[in-house]
């Protein structure tokens, strides 16, 4: 008992001090990441060797690249002359000569301003969706789009009237974004009709009358929703809109066009190709499959037997069938089921089936998000007296979609790349279709790497962009502070 310790009371707390040099900066990083153990050191050295060999092979090919030539043979002659016999070099001259086919297919070159304008407006339409409520970001996006659009149009040698029209249009959109940012979503809703008109041309009245069909839907819905509830009113509104499109659409559009003919040169679907085609299919399918997927996911969780069975059946059937089968269905089988002599555009048919295909996958991804939500969220929403649709819209979906963002964006990226499969039904996709056309040219026969690298690079930029956006969105929506 005599060895009792002295009592100790700390009179002053210690402040933090800097870590030793081996725990800081580059030394620490290299130690912990590259040379943390003998095995890691060996792997690091092997990795560096592999990288060196790769660059040794690749760099001369890239550096010897030729941009000015008229044929592959000429390219090779230039490389041989510059770098000596037996040297390799890329032949980018092919891209310089044929880039427009990779982008537009056989779209008439005098009308290039139309897809370019449609592409620019796509971002204007997306801005309020991507950056909901953040006016600064929307304005920055619109500004950048305007600059790029004008540069592209001037570069393409667009005539002055079209240039002025495009400028005025973008100026109006920016003005709306400055003073009435909420109204910009109206442009988003109108965008499908605008893009359709710009890309396919023809009478302006067809898309206008088609949009009126949605007006009919809204009118019927508003008239009935108080009496019959959300689901029935929407259903009847949809039926009314379908009747409008089936019976009123064609005669009414023709009628108005006879009185006031207004329109653009019609372009046939056969002339679409390259990234224009990939975007038309990809963007439409992506934006349509999300709402359909949400409804399917909700249907799958429904208590109502019929709705549940139909949703499960649809999802499982679609997921069980390869996309190529669906595309063949679009190009061949659908013709048999439609009335004789109906000319139902091939691109439209492909879009519909790709959309259905994607929505089945999206539905399952969203179901994963729904399953991750605690039951208490449903109970709290119910307990406060919110009805089913309010609870879904305000409580359940915002959270489920947030959880499902990585999966949804993965699906979208996959879908966008899958648009190249339309090559199998004779459409001119950028990867196989256009490349084949280019390589069929006697001047470029035998070129392999360059077109694929070019197309691959564009796909990469787009898909990487989507992926980065999804990460931005996840950060922005992170409110749980776990």
């Amino acid at each position: 008992m005599t060895a009792m310790q002295e009592t100790f009371v700390r009179s002053e707390m210690l402040g933090p001090s800097a870590p030793p040099i081996s725990e800081r900066g580059a030394v620490k990083w290299a130690r912990s990441n590259l040379f943390s153990s003998p095995l890691n050191t060996i792997l690091t050295l092997l990795g560096i060797t592999a990288l060196f060999l790769l660059l040794q092979g690749l760099l001369p090919w890239l550096l010897n690249g030729v941009w000015n030539a008229n044929s592959l043979a000429e390219c090779r002659a230039i490389v041989a002359a510059n770098a000596g016999e037996g040297a390799t070099g890329a032949c980018w001259a092919m891209i310089r000569e044929r880039w427009h086919q990779f982008l537009f297919g056989f779209y008439p070159s005098a009308e290039y301003w139309r897809p370019v304008l449609a592409f620019a407006l796509l971002f204007a339409a997306l801005a309020p969706v991507l950056y909901a409520g953040i006016r600064r970001n929307i304005l920055m996006m619109l500004g950048a789009v305007t600059v790029c659009l004008l540069a592209a149009l001037i570069g393409l040698g667009t005539t002055a009237p079209h240039l002025i029209q495009a400028t005025v249009l973008m100026a109006v959109l920016i003005a709306v974004a400055v003073w009435q940012p909420k109204k910009l979503i109206l442009f988003t809703l109108l965008y499908p009709a605008i893009a359709f008109f710009l890309l396919w041309g023809g009478s302006v009245w067809s898309p206008v009358v088609a949009m009126l069909g949605f007006g009919v839907l809204a009118l019927v819905y508003r008239f009935l929703v108080g009496r019959l509830g959300v689901v029935v009113a929407t259903g009847l509104g949809f039926v009314a809109a379908c009747l409008w499109w089936m019976f009123a659409q064609t005669p009414l559009a023709a009628e108005i066009n006879a009185v006031l003919p207004l329109g653009l040169t019609p372009i046939d679907s056969d002339q679409f190709g390259g990234f224009l085609l990939a975007f038309v299919i990809g963007v439409t399918a992506i934006s349509a499959s999300l709402p359909i997927g949400i409804l399917l996911a909700l249907g799958r969780q429904s208590d109502m037997f019929l709705i549940k069975t139909l949703s499960v059946g649809f999802i499982e059937f679609i997921r069980g069938v390869p996309l190529i089968t669906m595309l063949f269905t679009a190009s061949l089988l659908l013709q048999y089921f439609l009335p004789p002599n109906t000319n139902f555009d091939l691109i439209l048919r492909v879009i519909i089936l790709v959309t259905l295909f994607a929505s089945a996958y999206i539905a399952e991804v969203i179901r994963g998000g729904l399953a991750a939500l605690p039951r208490g969220q449903y109970e709290a929403a119910d307990g406060l007296g919110l009805d089913y649709w309010q609870a879904q819209r305000l409580i359940i979906m915002p959270q489920a979609l947030k959880i499902a963002i990585p999966g949804i964006v993965s699906s979208f990226i996959g879908l966008f790349k899958d648009t190249t499969l339309v090559a199998f039904v004779g459409l001119l996709d950028p990867l196989k279709g256009v490349t084949q056309v280019v390589r069929a040219d006697i001047n470029w026969k035998g070129i392999y790497w360059e077109p694929y690298i070019f197309v691959g690079l564009i796909f990469f930029i787009i898909c990487f962009g989507m992926s980065r956006y999804s990460m931005y969105l996840e950060r922005k929506l992170k409110t749980d502070h776990r």
């Binding site: 605690p374 969220q377 109970e379």
Partner: protein, 259 residues
């Protein structure tokens, strides 16, 4: 407990019936969870329900706003009978506030938005007005300064107080509490109980499933003891704790008070 400070001036029990449950039975599949429940709650009553786990006490109060469906018998809340009619269910739910064990705040909305959501969408109250009401109740539960934070940034006790404020924003006539303090650290239990006591002092009709016997003694005018899906004993708190009648109740009380 806050017995000494309890202001009973507004705690009046009227003759008006707020909730009446008659011969109510409920099954989960073939399991008979609630058996022949008969219970009447008058306006202004403060009832504590206790009992061992699995005795059906949570299920009982969840039946009162139809988070659970009963299969036989009758439940009438504020003159509205609970049937499968969705309109009636929504009406009852908007009149009856519910506070959960795990708070169930909406993590994607701020505290203020949590509180204004239902008034705006269910009661159709203008946003400005709903926000004023929400701030009023947030001040009442003593966390107005947290209004623009997200639930994940608050402590458990604060979250539960927000959950109470969220329910109060709907101006309910009845409040149900489903083990509101069971998921909280001991030091946070008091702040939530204080809020509930304050609510009781204002004459709110309350049914509370809880194991806080101090709260029951201080605030309740009736304690109901449940076991195996049945009401075993109910009495005023003093009698219930000092002089329990049934053996089951005695055993239960000795177990929860005996340490």
């Amino acid at each position: 407990m806050a017995e000494a400070a309890l202001d009973t001036s507004k705690m009046k029990i009227s003759d008006e019936v707020a909730i009446s449950i008659v011969a109510m039975n409920k099954w989960y599949g073939t399991f008979h969870v609630l058996r022949d429940i008969d219970m009447t709650v008058n306006r202004g009553e403060r009832i504590v329900i206790c009992g061992p786990s699995g005795s059906g006490k949570s299920t009982l109060i969840r039946c009162i706003n139809r988070l659970e469906e009963h299969q036989a018998g009758q439940i009438v809340v504020d003159g509205t009978e609970l049937t499968s009619d969705l309109k009636n269910i929504d009406k009852v739910r908007s009149e009856v506030g519910m506070v959960f064990q795990h708070f169930n705040l909406f993590p994607h909305l701020t505290i203020l938005e949590n509180c204004t959501l239902a008034p705006i969408w269910v009661r159709k109250i203008p946003k400005r007005e709903a926000e004023e009401t929400a701030m009023h109740f947030l001040r009442k539960v003593k966390i107005p300064e947290q209004a623009n934070k997200y639930p994940g940034q608050l402590s458990g006790g604060q979250q539960q107080r927000v959950a109470i404020a969220r329910s109060l924003c709907m101006k309910p006539r009845i409040m149900l509490f489903d083990e509101p303090t069971s998921a909280l650290d001991p030091e946070m239990i008091k702040e939530v109980l204080d809020t509930m006591i304050e609510l009781a002092q204002e004459g709110m009709t309350m049914i509370c499933v809880t194991h806080e016997m101090g709260f029951a003694q201080a605030v309740a005018n009736r304690v109901i003891f449940m076991d195996q899906g049945q009401i075993v004993e109910q009495n005023e708190p003093k009698e219930f704790f000092n002089n329990p009648k049934s053996d089951r109740t005695k055993l239960f009380l000795s177990q929860i008070l005996g340490h």
